[in-house]
């Protein structure tokens, strides 16, 4: 039995266990309910409005973007939060003290974060089925596109979350940094506001990051083909979507392991204690 693949299997069961724990945790459930409720309210208020010049409901036009941003948010800030908190509470050090423990830890984290992101996606989708009639008309091809865009979106964001979580000094700094980054990117992402209405240089910035492409990919999957006319270049640009998301994924997957390794190598009990004392001083 190869110990590394054995530890990876332990990581799978670890991820599943942690996902189940979050299903019974009132805080986690509360967070999911509040964020989902916010999306549902937006969709509900938009259900009768039409996108100007078309007979597409505004809700139908918003939903894909919500799916896309949810994936990126869960991937990025989930990984940032998990790493920053688990460096401070000793989970990482515990993993370091076990043979092949880091393999199990990382696989477990990827699994539990992915499960959380996918279940978040499903919750919004189910709500969408009731509020957005266009959704029930989507065929198999549309759902397959949703699946690959979602999966790639997760791979494109999760490793970057791990990088930010590794570099940040404290969970507070990590959360602040990721919210700032996320807020800035989502405001120019074209998800809440048409990207065609933005200045050209802002359009360029938005297109350099995965968030815009996640929204575009989801719109391509779930909106009628005619709606592509409202996009940049009047096309869904599926190849570009694939290309940009793949590029971010590859870069993240190449960059994250050495940064994680360097962070893990530096972790020690006294470092953890020092961080805790700083945290206590902030409170006191």
């Amino acid at each position: 039995m190869n110990p590394t693949s054995y530890a990876a299997r332990l990581g799978l069961s670890r991820g599943w266990i942690e996902f189940k724990h979050s299903l019974t945790n009132p805080q986690d459930i509360g967070f999911t309910i509040v964020t989902t409720a916010a999306f549902v309210v937006v969709l509900y208020l938009q259900r009768d409005a039409k996108v100007p010049g078309t007979d597409l409901s505004l809700a139908a036009a918003t939903l894909p973007g919500v799916l896309g941003i949810g994936m990126a948010f869960n991937g990025l800030s989930g990984a940032v939060g998990a790493l920053a908190v688990e460096r401070e509470d000793g989970t990482l050090l515990r993993a370091k003290a076990l043979p092949q423990g880091m393999v199990g830890y990382l696989v477990g984290r990827i699994v539990s974060l992915s499960l959380a992101a996918v279940s978040g996606l499903l919750i919004v989708l189910v709500a969408g089925l009731f509020l957005v009639p266009e959704l029930t008309g989507a065929g198999l091809g549309a759902w397959l596109t949703v699946a690959w865009v979602a999966a790639l979106g997760l791979v494109a964001t999760l490793p970057w979350g791990a990088v930010i979580g590794s570099l940040a000094n404290s969970p507070q700094a990590a959360a602040g940094l990721s919210m700032l980054l996320f807020g800035a990117l989502s405001s120019v992402s074209g998800i809440f506001y048409p990207i065609t209405a933005l200045a050209t240089w802002l359009q360029a910035v938005a297109q350099a990051f995965p968030l815009y492409w996640l929204g575009l990919g989801m719109r391509a999957a779930l909106l009628p083909d005619a709606a592509a006319a409202a996009e940049l270049g009047g096309s869904w640009r599926p190849l570009e979507t694939l290309g940009v998301l793949l590029a971010w994924s590859v870069a993240g997957l190449v960059l994250a392991p050495p940064i994680l390794r360097r962070m893990a190598r530096r972790e020690s009990g006294s470092l953890m204690m020092a961080r805790r004392e700083r945290a206590l001083q902030r409170i006191g």
Binding site: M1, P3, Y6, A7, L10, S13, R14, I17, E18, H21, S22, N25, E86, D89, G90, T91, L93, R94, K96, A97, L98, P99, Q100, G101, G104, E267, S268, G269, S270, M272, M273, R276
Partner: protein
Amino acid sequence: MSVTRALDGDTNVTNAGSALEVSGLHMSYGPLEVLRGVDFSVAPGEVIALLGPNGAGKTTTIEILEGFRMPSAGRVRVLGTDPAKGDERWRARLGVVLQSWRDHGRWPVHQLLDHLGRYYTPYSTASRPRPLDTGELIEAVGLTEQAGRRVNRLSGGQRRRLDVAIGIVGRPEVLFLDEPTAGFDPQARRDFHDLVHRLSDLDDTTILLTTHDLDEAEKLADRILILTGGRIIADGSADRLSREVSRDAQVRWSRAGEHFVHATDDATGFVRGLFAQYGEEIDDLEVRRATLEDTYMAILKKEEG
């Protein structure tokens, strides 16, 4: 034949070697020199208590041995391996209990121990099956009633016992315990001492522990190391250390309702004389050697002075 003998000889050499070996260990954090030439070695199965004032470098020393921190200079071997280069197979032979952990709060005790124990399965051998049975281990650390409880619902002492259980779930050959009994009530402390004795007697585990409880050090450790100013300034059994500092014992007695105290380096002779002189008038007799605490304070004072 001769090859076999040579191999046997090699095995014996390894077995007879030290479990821990530290020489010329230096550690600096920037301009701050924490360790300045630490030397000691520990034989397999020995229980060692590392004592010293706060900030003396105890935790740094342990972290270097655990492979969590790279030393600035010096030679360190744990089970014959340099911790800086230890692989996962080496890691599987160690147990680590750090000072403070708050992780895995949502996991029930039994589930967590069972999960963490499974990491050791690939490293199980005929002579040392790994991991320990989860149920038995939970019983050994006295958490049977809390087995189904989530970790964040445990009291401080229970939490610490779980840390110890996680430290030994892989049946370590070397166990590092950094202040294992902080926050224990007297009963938990006694149970923990029994557990350490069992580990060292039955499993031949080499144990290095740090503590501020000198009574505990005296009870548990075969040998005591005192670390201060970045160096080991005393190394020996509690008994030997106290003899080195002072051979004096205190004799207390009462006669005719009056209490007396006398310090002497020949307590037996003094008491014999006492009885010869006063016979049955002597009452409340008590002979007390210097405790480890007396010795420890004396050694530190001498070092400072």
